[in-house]
Amino acid sequence: MLRKYLVATLFCLTFFLLSISLAQGELVVGLQGDIVAVDPVYAYDFTANPVVCQITEGLLRFENGETLAPNLAESWENPDPLTYIYHLRQDVTFQDGSPMTIDDVIFSMERTRNPETASYVGWMYDSVDTIEKVDDWTIKVSLKQPDALWQYVPATTAGHVISKAYYEAHKDTFGKPEGGLLGTGPFKFMSWSTGSEIDLEKYDGYWNKANGGPYLDKLTFKILPEATTRIAGLQTGEVQALLGTDSTPADQLPIAMKMDNITVDFQDSYLTYFIAFNTQRPPFDNVKVRQALNYALDKVLLTQNLYPVSDAVSVAKAVDVMPRLWTFEKDKWQAAYDALPDYAFDMDKAKQLLEESGVADELNGKVITTDENPLTLGMALALQAAAAELGYELEINKVTFQESISLAFSGARDYDILPIPWGSDFPDPSGNLLPVFHSRYVGDGGSNFGNYVNPEVDKLLDDANSLTDNAERTDLMVQAEQIIAQDSPWIVILHPKQTFVLNNDFEGYTITPLWYWDAFAKDIKMK
C-alpha cells in the first residue's frame, strides 16, 4: 500500500519537474506589491508604473532620466513661457491596430486633468489653462502662469495616451482585470490575476521598432511582498529582474551580489532618506534643537550600517539636491553645495547648541516610523540612541506603512519626527525643493513633511518656478537651499542608488533615476 503511494508520488514529482521550464523570451519581473490599476491615471508608484509604462506611452520621454526626448510627439516648441506646442507622430497605432489620432491624445490629457477622474497625477495639470487642437496633428497647451516644471509632464504617466474608442467601449471595466488597457506601447495587456501576477505580450506593430525592441515575447510581473522570497526567486530563476530601491532592500543586497546567475547594477538616484522635524511643534520649532540633533547623529556610520554595500548609496549633505540632480548649471550648484554646512558628527557642538536653545529640559517627542521599511526604522533607532546620548528619551511609535503615509500627507501634520524618503519626479532640482519646502504644500495631500513655513524660501521657490531661464532659476534655488540648510528642518541622511537586478540571460537596459517613467522592457533581450 505504502509502496504504491511512493511510486505515485515520485511519478508526479518527475512530471512537475519537467513541466516548469519557462517560455522562451519571457522575462519575469518581481514586484513588491499588487498594482492599483492598469491605468496611467492611477500609475504613480513603484509597482503600477513599471507595468503601465510598457503598455501606454507619453508624448515625450526621459532620456537617461535626465533630458526630454520625442516620443509620441516627434517635436515640440515653447514659443513663450505660457505656450507649449506638440507635433504628433502620424504613424502610431494602438495595440488593436487602430491608428492614434489627436482625439485620443486630447481625450487622454483631459481625462487625467478632470478632477472627477481623481487621477493620482492630476495635480501635474494644476497650472494648465487650456488644451487645444491646432490642426489634425498639432496640440497647443496654454498655461495660467509660467511653470518651469510643466515641460516634464508629457513624459510622465500624466501625458500617457489611451485609446478613446477602447475606453468608451469598456468604461466600467477599464483599468481593471476584465477591461485592461489599450495603448501604443511595446507590450500589450493580456491578463491580471490580482494579488499574484500580470501578463503582457509583445506588440508586433509597435511604431518605434526601428530603434530597437520589443524583443521579449512575454513580460510577466509576479507580486511577491516578502523580500526574502524575491531574493530566493532570483537564485532559483523564478524571478529574473527587480527594479528600484524598494524591490531589493539594502539588507538583501550582499546576498544578491553573491549570486552568479544575476548582475546587480547601481545608478545615482534623485532619492533622499531624511528625518523630518515638525518645525511648528515645540521643541522642534527651535532651530538650535534641530541643529543639535543633526550634529548628534553620526550620519556616516548610520549610512554604513543601513547600506552594507557601499556601492549602493552615496552620503548626503544638509539639503536633498544631490549632484545627479544638477541637470543644468552644474558649476553654480557645485559651488553652492561646497558652501553648505555638512553637520558632521560632533557631540560637543550638539550639547552646546542644546544648551543655547534654552529649551534643553523640554526635549521629548515621538518618532513615527514603519517597520516595513528597514531604512526608516534604522534611522529612528539611531536618532533615539543619539538623543539618549544627549540625555533625552525619544519615543518610537511603530505604525503600518499606510498609516505613516496617511500621517505624512495629512494637513493635520500630527507627528513630531518622521523619517521618510522623497525623490523628485522630474530631472529638475526644483522637484526636490518646491514640493517639500514650500509652505503651500503643508496642507492635505502636500509633501512638506517638515511643516516648514518660511516666507523668504516660499518667494525664492515661487520666483524660480515662474522663470524659464535656468541660470536665473539656479541663482534663486541656491539661495533657498542655503537658508533651508541653516534652518535644518530635516536631518538629511543618505541618497540610495537605484538598483537593477537582472538575470544574466538578459541584457539591454540601464536603470535611470526616473526608471519608473521608462518603458524599460522595450530594449531588453535574451543574450
Binding site: 508526479c12 492599483v36 490599476a37 492611477y42 492630476g122 481593471k176 523564478e238 495631500g445
Partner: protein, 312 residues
C-alpha cells in the same frame, strides 16, 4: 434534522448583522485616511482628495456609511474596492480558489502526517516511538508558519532547488507542485494537534472492553487497531480536524504572504492595511458565513459518524 438545519441557518442572520456592524465600525475607527492612502503617498491636492472622498461615500458618517453598505449588500452588491477599483465579489471569486486549494491540500497532508503518527504513538505507548512522534508533532506546532515558511524556501528552493520558491503555478500539476512547500509548512503546523488527539482517543478506545474481546477472539492486532479502534477514535479527531480548518485559514494568510500566493488571506490583510473598507467588510461577511456553515457541517458529520448523537 431539517428543522435543526433551518434553525441553524436562521441563526446566521443575527450573526451576520452583528459581525458586519462590528467590522464596519472597527475598520472606520482605525487611524488612517483611506483617501490619502489611496493616492499612495504621493503629492496631491485637497480638491482631488475631496473628489475621492465623495466618489467613495467617505464624506458620510460612520453609521451612514454602514447603512449605505448594508443597503447595497442586501441587494447582492458588496461594493467596489477603494484601492483595486474592482467589485469586491469578483475579487473574492478570483482569490478564493488558490486559498481553498492551499487549505485542502494542507488539510489532507496534515492528516497524512498526523494519523499514522498518532496511531503509532498510541500503539507503542511510552516507548521511544511514542516520544519521537510527540516531539515531531510538537516541533511542528511550535514553529510559527510565517517563519518556517521562509526557512523552507531557503532550504528547499534556494539551497536545494527541489521546489519552486514562489507563485501558484498554472495548470493542475504545476499548481500542485507549487503548493507542496506552502502546504507542508501549514500541514506540519496543523498535524501536531490532530496526531495528539488521535493518540489520546486511540488510547481511550484501547481501554474499552470490546477491544479486549476482539483481541481475545484472536483477531489480528493490525485489524483490531485499524478496524475497531481507529473508527471509534475518529469522532474527537473529526472535531479537531474541523476546528483546524479555521486555524488553517489564518495560517494560510501568513503563508500566502511569504510564498507570494495571491489568495483570500492576502486580500484581507492588504485591505485592513490599506483601509479598504468595502473589501474588509465584504470578505469578513463572506468568511463568517463560511465559518458558520463549516461548523454546521461538522455537527452534521458527527451525526453521520456516531448515530447516537442527535440534535434537537
Amino acid at each position: 434534522m431539517t428543522s435543526y438545519i433551518l434553525k441553524r441557518l436562521l441563526a446566521l442572520i443575527p450573526i451576520l448583522i452583528f459581525t458586519s456592524f462590528l467590522v464596519s465600525t472597527l475598520v472606520r475607527l482605525t487611524p488612517g485616511d483611506p483617501a490619502l492612502i489611496m493616492v499612495g503617498g504621493r503629492r496631491t491636492s485637497p480638491e482631488i482628495l475631496q473628489a475621492i472622498r465623495h466618489q467613495y461615500a467617505l464624506d458620510k458618517s460612520v453609521l451612514g456609511q454602514y447603512v449605505f453598505w448594508v443597503g447595497n449588500a442586501v441587494r447582492g452588491n458588496l461594493g467596489e474596492s477603494f484601492r483595486l477599483k474592482q467589485k469586491v465579489s469578483s475579487l473574492i471569486a478570483a482569490r478564493l480558489p488558490i486559498t481553498m486549494q492551499l487549505i485542502i491540500f494542507s488539510g489532507v497532508l496534515s492528516l497524512v502526517i498526523a494519523l499514522p503518527l498518532g496511531i503509532l504513538a498510541a500503539v507503542y505507548k511510552n516507548t521511544w516511538v511514542d516520544y519521537l512522534a510527540t516531539l515531531v508533532s510538537l516541533l511542528g506546532m511550535s514553529s510559527p508558519v510565517y517563519f518556517s515558511g521562509i526557512v523552507f524556501i531557503l532550504i528547499f528552493a534556494y539551497t536545494l532547488d527541489w521546489f519552486p520558491a514562489l507563485g501558484a503555478g498554472k495548470g493542475l500539476w504545476d499548481r500542485l507542485y507549487h503548493l507542496i512547500l506552502p502546504s507542508s509548512v501549514l500541514a506540519l503546523n496543523m498535524a501536531a494537534l490532530t496526531s495528539r488527539m488521535t493518540r489520546s482517543s486511540m488510547l481511550d478506545v484501547f481501554g474499552n472492553d470490546y477491544i479486549t474481546v476482539a483481541k481475545a477472539k484472536g483477531l489480528a492486532w493490525r485489524r483490531v487497531v485499524l478496524r475497531h479502534a481507529f473508527r471509534n477514535a475518529l469522532i474527537p479527531v473529526v472535531t479537531v480536524a474541523a476546528l483546524q480548518l479555521g486555524f488553517l485559514f489564518v495560517g494560510s494568510v501568513l503563508v500566502e504572504f511569504t510564498f507570494g500566493l495571491g489568495g483570500l488571506g492576502s486580500l484581507i490583510t492588504d485591505a485592513i492595511q490599506n483601509r479598504d473598507y468595502p473589501v474588509v467588510q465584504g470578505t469578513t461577511l463572506f468568511l463568517v458565513t463560511v465559518f458558520v456553515l463549516l461548523n454546521l457541517v461538522t455537527d452534521l458529520l458527527y451525526m453521520v459518524i456516531d448515530p447516537r448523537i442527535r440534535y434537537g
